[in-house]
């Protein structure tokens, strides 16, 4: 198989990589610049901006909040999303058709609109504290990812295996845990990671819900950039990239990345 490669195809591939990875290279390079401002190409070499991240307590505090909300929100979304995906796949024909659409709605509604309406309806009207409101917001925005990815893995599952388990004396609920869940484990893990990263990166919804003393890391980064123009933010971006790469590497090792693009 010696497919002749068109020069245009090579050029297009190069352009994609250039525009995709170029900015990341610039950010990474700026992070080690020994200047008080963002500089590219970097002038000198220093790791002090990485050190500075850990001296800004707002970064650590908001990272901790972001992490908690991402984990809790994803777990909540899975707790709702897995049964929902199961019901949609298993009993889809018996359910009204809007139900399938219902769980992807949060993707269709602009997040900034959703964030604002959540502010009006939950924060202001119900007078809920900031963290629970953030949690509700993040749970809702990651729910579609959970439902879709789990649905995709249920599509390959043969439900007669569950009926077989039931006929062999396993009660329906236990059969779900004994037979269904182990076979969609990969999909649940994939959904977890996708939802976790989505939540960790979210700006538009969080923007409306944060308040005095409570913020998320992406918002804190925005605020920092408004006030300071030093390479700390580039260094923090590098750390976040590393975190993402580590997460993806774990996924690749356990599931194979092909899982996402299938």
């Amino acid at each position: 198989m010696t497919a002749r490669r068109s020069p245009w195809l090579s050029l297009a591939a190069f352009a994609v990589y250039f525009f995709l990875l170029g900015p990341l290279v610039i950010v990474a390079a700026s992070a080690v610049s020994d200047t008080e401002y963002l500089a590219f190409p970097p002038e000198g070499f220093s790791l002090r901006w990485f050190q500075r991240i850990f001296e800004v307590s707002a970064f650590l505090d908001t990272f901790w909040i972001s992490l908690q909300i991402a984990v809790a929100g994803t777990v909540l979304a899975l707790a709702v999303g897995i049964p929902a995906a199961f019901a949609l796949k298993r009993h889809g024909v018996a359910l009204p058709s809007w139900m399938g659409t219902f769980f992807v709605l949060p993707i269709l509604v602009p997040e900034i609109v959703f964030g604002f309406s959540l502010l009006r309806s939950v924060s202001v009207a119900l007078d809920l504290p900031i963290v629970p409101t953030l949690l509700i917001g993040h749970t809702v925005i990651v729910l579609p990812y959970c439902v879709r990815v789990v649905s995709a893995s249920l599509a390959n599952f043969d439900f007669s295996a569950q009926e077989a388990a039931i006929s062999l004396g396993c009660p329906p609920v236990r059969s779900f845990f004994a037979v269904v869940l182990p076979n969609i484990r990969a999909g649940i893990l994939a959904a977890f990671i996708l939802a976790f990263i989505t939540s960790l990166n979210n700006v538009p919804v969080s923007l409306f819900l944060i308040g005095p003393g409570v913020s998320t890391l992406p918002i804190q980064m925005l605020i920092y950039v408004e006030n300071f123009f030093d390479p700390t933010i580039a260094a923090l971006s590098v750390l976040l990239m590393v975190l993402t790469v580590v997460v993806m590497a774990v996924v690749e090792k356990t599931l194979g990345l092909g899982y996402f693009v299938r």
Partner: protein, 354 residues
């Protein structure tokens, strides 16, 4: 402990659509009964109802002397074998087979020995540690069979278990299923759309149509003496001619068919004929011979087809166009006139249409 199964007055609905109509079915202990019919006839619905995955709207499902119609599926003690095997992909062959025993709380050591025994019986002892993905279709179905049998169920249900296998394997597997069912003496209900499969494996066969049982009898009876036009067509009596008796003599009965053609039939061959009836005939039951006159149905043949053992013709007759067969010696030419005679072995008598 295997049990008899008795369905009485079963109605079932999917939503507002009624799919089973006042169904009665009795299966004796240790008997294998097939439900046979085209897709949509209600045979799989009946099986799912017995398994407990579809509640009947009315009627009773007696397993032994217990009505299980309202019992949840997991408490029915019924072994189920599916068309697509339905093995647990994340478990080894041994764990698949042992699953039912585990649900019954059996100790691991005893479970292992029962599983090993059962796997040996289906010839898969060497595969105990494999996962289903590493098995062929026939091996998967053997695992499914072992998994259903090892719990010593009151009743075994088969839902088209051989449909996904190739033709040769299908025949081997159906012999194997029959042998295992006989060896265990388990009562079994077997759903299939394949007539040969149903007839070869079953003690009795229920032919279903439109959510009702058309006829329930031994395969020999169904094949030779169908009770109605639907079953007759199902077992190959494609030609169905309404007839009326015009005269009864000591050694013959004179009948006329639609279109005015008349026959003389020998009562020794045909038994007691009602005054009006429908004659069902397979193509082999209508034999065309050269020459006119005598007792047969006059015909003009066209479209001759060579089938190897015999010729088949389309023939124009006073009773309409028919498919008939002719012998290998002196075949008729297309357009030639001949006479159709009846072979009682390949014909049946059906009640006249109301």
């Amino acid at each position: 402990m295997t049990q008899s199964l008795s369905l009485a007055g079963i109605d079932a609905h999917y939503g507002r659509t009624q799919v089973l109509f006042d169904l009665d079915l009795d299966i004796g202990r240790g008997e294998l009964v097939s439900l046979l019919g085209a897709s949509g006839c209600g045979k799989t619905t009946t099986l799912r109802l017995v398994a407990g995955f579809l509640p009947p709207s009315s009627g009773t499902v007696m397993l032994g002397d217990q009505d299980i119609a309202r019992l949840p599926a997991h408490r029915r003690d019924i072994g189920l074998v599916f068309q697509n095997y339905a093995l647990f992909p994340h478990m080894t062959v041994a764990d698949n087979v042992g699953f039912g025993l585990k649900q019954r709380g059996m100790a691991a050591a005893r479970r292992r020995s029962l599983v090993a025994d059962m796997l040996a019986r289906v010839g898969l002892d060497a595969f105990a540690g494999r996962y289903p993905a590493a098995l062929s279709g026939g091996q998967k179905q053997r695992v499914a069979l072992a998994r259903a049998l090892v719990i010593k169920p009151s009743l075994l249900l088969f839902d088209e278990p051989l449909s996904n296998l190739d033709a040769k394997l299908r025949i081997d597997m159906r012999v194997e299923i029959r042998a295992l069912q006989q060896a265990h003496g388990t009562t079994a209900l077997y759903v299939t759309h394949d007539q040969e499969e149903a007839f070869s494996i079953s003690d009795r066969v229920a032919i279903m149509e439109g959510g009702r049982i058309s006829q329930f009898d031994r395969p020999e009876v169904l094949y030779r003496q169908p009770a109605n036009a639907f079953v007759a067509r199902f077992v190959g009596f494609e030609t169905q001619l309404p007839m009326a008796v015009t005269a009864r003599g000591a050694d013959h009965v004179a009948v006329t068919a639609a279109g005015g053609a008349s026959f003389r039939l020998d009562p020794a061959d045909w038994g007691g004929l009602p005054d009006r009836f429908v004659l069902g005939a397979r193509a082999e039951g209508l034999r065309v011979e050269a020459g006119e006159g005598g007792d047969g149905l006059p015909a003009t043949v066209h479209t001759r087809t060579y089938l190897g053992r015999q010729y088949q013709y389309r023939a124009d007759t006073p009773a309409g166009p028919l498919t008939v067969t002719g012998g290998m010696t002196a075949p008729l030419e297309e357009g030639e006139r001949g006479t159709i005679r009846l072979n009682p072995e390949q014909c049946c008598i059906l009640p006249a249409a109301a």
